[in-house]
Symmetry: C3
Subunit: 271 residues, 3 copies
């Protein structure tokens, strides 16, 4: 079965199961992440105090660790929840927002990778390259010009092998790989980069799919593909109105996705 | 006068007074709570540092305590603000988001109930049942299947008597009771559960009405009714577009509510 | 060249440069600030931990300090980032949200002014008056009735001279002054006050313009003007729908602004 069919089918089944996803994430895009999860057919819970981090992870089907606005308090909770997830076989999606931009962010990233087994790493080329210890010149949370020097397929594969996890590199073309299988996704729209949180939402809904606890490469492909399709739907309906409407349209797009639409619209090359 | 007429009239008067509502709430839905309060005719202020919690409560007409993303720091502020509110006769609306989901959340809930006199408790059946010490099996922040075993009217009445406050249980049908009077509200739309924050917004606008410092049962009925009506208006105009548009439509709906619309659309059975 | 032409031209050039703006801001309106910055042609980064505050400021073109939901932890980061900005010649925009509403907020404001050299102060008349030590009677984050006693032009000029910075006082008519030059902006729409975050977004996009490191009076005028124009565009297209749609429309409006529109729509009296 093609990964498109598998991803499409996973969407249908996720909407029946409604997996609970624990998000320790940033306060900038957290509302969009919650609404994106609900729209795609999962259920969000946000909790970042060390006194409950482990308890909340334990009742969830997947965990997202997103370091967008990390602080010492929440880093501790990320580590605690990550360990609980590992113990209980709960998938962990790691979004290293802005990795490379500060020593604190880098040290937190290093610590998370050292203490937590990640199932899926999702970032832009700059972030993924940094995380994998490859050449990276990060400027804030956007893909820097310097990244074009790296080939995203090579970078993603190297990261996947080094970290023994599935890696999703999002950009003009998205790459999802477990080190062997590669999905090259050509969906999405450039205007999505003019809205904050498309990356964070992608990681969140990827965790929804991962919460089905099946093939993590399919889950990551389904998550990244879903966001690309939602962006296309949003652009078609609302892009001419501006970025505020596009943002609303992306949540609308996620909520309207189903097996048929995914199969019809997906542009994935398997390598 | 029927509770519908009273609620409708309270809306008109609130829009004239514009009561200031202090919210110590979660960072997931806080923006929606602020915009919901403005839309319904109140004014929001968010402040959660212990150094100013009491000062901010003292200049406000009502206080919302919402434990959606509580941490030790904010719990202290909730307790401090709650006590100040009690001393000054300022109504307190308590939203025990996810009560039952973790030991920390349960302990914070217990402490708040012990140290703060609540005016209105607003939650789903699972949360209210837990708070009242009744049978509850919480799964995150959603109503669990197990809750259908409890009759919401009985559960709400018991909670109201036990805690000596008005209780609002929201769900397919909403129940508002002070232990004696019961309003059964049949407004709203099922798709509202696919947006994060409808519960939090309900608590916030309920605090707006409570800030008029009149009958707390009427205030809670007005708040919960207003959200149901906004959901219906939103569904009618934007429901077919998706959940992003529905969310925007709910704020639009709240801002368009007035005495006439409330009287025309309200479906309340008084028991 | 008129300030309108200068502001319009600055918008074009900012969209080419895409300056990175570091925001230490509140969790209520942070998402709107990020999307507003992207819409106007800048790039947002949010980071408030003391371990990275200075690093993030150092890679940015401007810094926003917004005390909307300050706490002791973030105040320290504000001071640290402010000092780094001063050392590196990075403009600092200060938004004293709710100054005057609590002793903690006042003390933080005093400390920020003492330790950080501000480039642009942006607030309502109540906040600016308080900050400048003039007569002020703040009620939460809204302009109080009492403020009408002060003439905003006089208050802004006095504040600008006292603090040696550009001052932007937003209200029905907006005033921007460096103590000598005064721009009186008559754009915007009253319904904007029914949405949370219009002030915060104004400060954020002002920092985008300030990040071009040219004339701070022009930058502040461009920022405040841009928000007024976006409000007018939004009111025209979405105002009849309600405040939820108006909020979305403001981001749409910001993203649609360009040199021609700014020149055509701006109503500025230079004094």
């Amino acid at each position: 079965m093609s990964v498109i069919k598998e991803a499409a089918n996973l969407n249908t089944r996720m909407r029946e199961v409604v997996p609970l996803v624990h998000n320790i994430t940033n306060y900038v895009t957290v509302n969009d992440c919650a609404n994106a999860l609900l729209a795609i057919g999962a259920s969000p819970i946000m909790a970042d105090d060390i006194r409950e981090a482990s308890d909340i992870t334990a009742i969830s089907s997947a965990l997202v660790i997103n370091i967008g606005t990390l602080n010492q308090r929440t880093v501790e909770s990320m580590l605690r929840s990550g360990k609980t997830a590992n113990e209980l076989g709960i998938p962990v999606v790691f979004d290293p927002v802005g990795a490379g931009a500060s020593a604190f962010r880098n040290e937190a990233t290093r610590q998370i990778l050292e203490e937590v087994k990640i199932s899926i790493l999702r970032g832009n080329l700059s972030e993924v390259s940094f995380v994998a210890g490859l050449n990276a010149a990060a400027k804030g949370v956007d893909v820097s010009e310097a990244d074009s020097a790296n080939d995203p397929v090579d970078a993603a594969k190297m990261a996947a092998k080094k970290l023994s996890c599935v890696v999703g590199v999002t950009g003009a073309v998205d790459i999802v790989t477990d080190g062997e299988r590669v999905a090259k996704i050509s969906n999405g729209h450039p205007m999505m980069s003019k809205i904050t949180g498309t990356g964070c939402m992608t990681s969140a809904i990827t965790a929804g799919y991962a919460g089905m606890k099946e093939d993590m490469w399919v889950a990551a492909t389904a998550g990244i593909l879903s966001m690309g399709l939602a962006g296309e739907i949003a652009w078609e309906k609302a892009g001419h109105l501006g970025t505020g409407s596009l943002r609303t349209g992306i949540i609308d797009g996620l909520s309207s996705l189903n097996e048929t639409k995914i199969e019809e619209m997906a542009k994935i090359e398997e390598m």
